[in-house]
């Protein structure tokens, strides 16, 4: 039964839907095939391997994350932009944790297209940092600091590492962002000398 209308894009989207609704850990090629009313082996007519599928899903996640970040900083600059960016990042990780996890599983070692994805991750924060008077080297460092803070909060909260104390994690995160802004402003002063 060579069914028509079963495209690669549709398969990937179905996989994304399943991962978002039922979790990454319970996802398998056989479940995906079942949802598409085909056998698992038939998937290999559309994809080369499960790695390839996860890579595609990772690309999707990165582009979604980039999208919410760019729309969050639209029309904003400096500290206001930083706060909006952080808020968008945090909300994405909290609202779509399963898809977010896929990003990290991306084999960044690989070549070609992954390079592009790497810049998609970096672009929003680099744009915001462009609003400050900083050297290129400072921007490279600060971009990493921002991503570390945000990823640290998201992944640890998701893992349940932040349950110990009765204070809101969102508040903790905003405090971290305040510290990050302090660091940017401090770096700006150093750059002026």
């Amino acid at each position: 039964m060579a069914r028509q209308g079963l495209t690669r894009a549709y398969i990937i989207q179905t996989a994304i839907d399943m991962i978002e609704s039922e979790g990454l850990h319970s996802f398998s090629l056989r479940e995906l095939a079942g949802r598409l009313h085909i056998k698992a082996a038939s998937l290999y007519n559309h994809i080369q391997s499960s790695d390839e599928l996860y890579t595609e899903i990772g690309y999707y996640a990165i582009s979604e994350l980039k999208k919410v970040q760019l729309s969050a900083i639209a029309g904003k600059v400096r500290s206001e932009a930083v706060e909006a960016l952080a808020d968008a990042y945090y909300r994405f990780g909290k609202q779509r944790p399963e898809i977010y996890k896929v990003i990290l599983s991306l084999p960044m070692v690989k070549n070609d297209a992954i390079h592009k994805a790497g810049f998609d991750i970096v672009e929003p924060i680099m744009t915001v940092l462009g609003g400050y008077r900083l050297t290129e080297e400072q921007k490279m460092h600060l971009q990493r600091v921002f991503r570390s803070i945000m990823h640290g909060f998201i992944s640890q909260e998701e893992a349940g590492c932040f349950r110990q104390y009765p204070v809101g994690v969102g508040d903790s995160c905003r405090m971290a962002v305040r510290g990050f802004i302090l660091l940017i402003e401090n770096s700006e002063k150093e750059a002026e000398i």
Copy 2:
């Protein structure tokens, strides 16, 4: 062949050695059993499940991480202690990445003993923060900020997310710690008012 001298502790230690030397992803109960010269099914005379084994390994990793942190801050206070703590944390994650990964896979949802492990993770940074004039709530937030920064750097560098720019990741991390210290000092001023 009911071999003598095959204790639960020895099995766990063997698993740790294997994970550290050959990586978490290539570890399996059958490989572990092979190294111990028994069959995989026989492992179940000593452990209840692979989850239990990973939990034990996670406890080990947490205690090791706590150890290096506590020895790093011995005799130090305030910013010097923060920097030493961060340095020890970063080095641990970099030198023992496979074991570090197990910590996060710990099912923090669970009850009882995991609670203790949670406090082992928090204790060193809370000790250092004790050297500042901060409210309890500030300490709770700042402890999370510290852990997020450190975990963010370690896990993203390990995942290869920091390959884009030709500046040292260690330098980026030290910059983040400087920002964290700025945030602490800033919080201290607010607490005094």
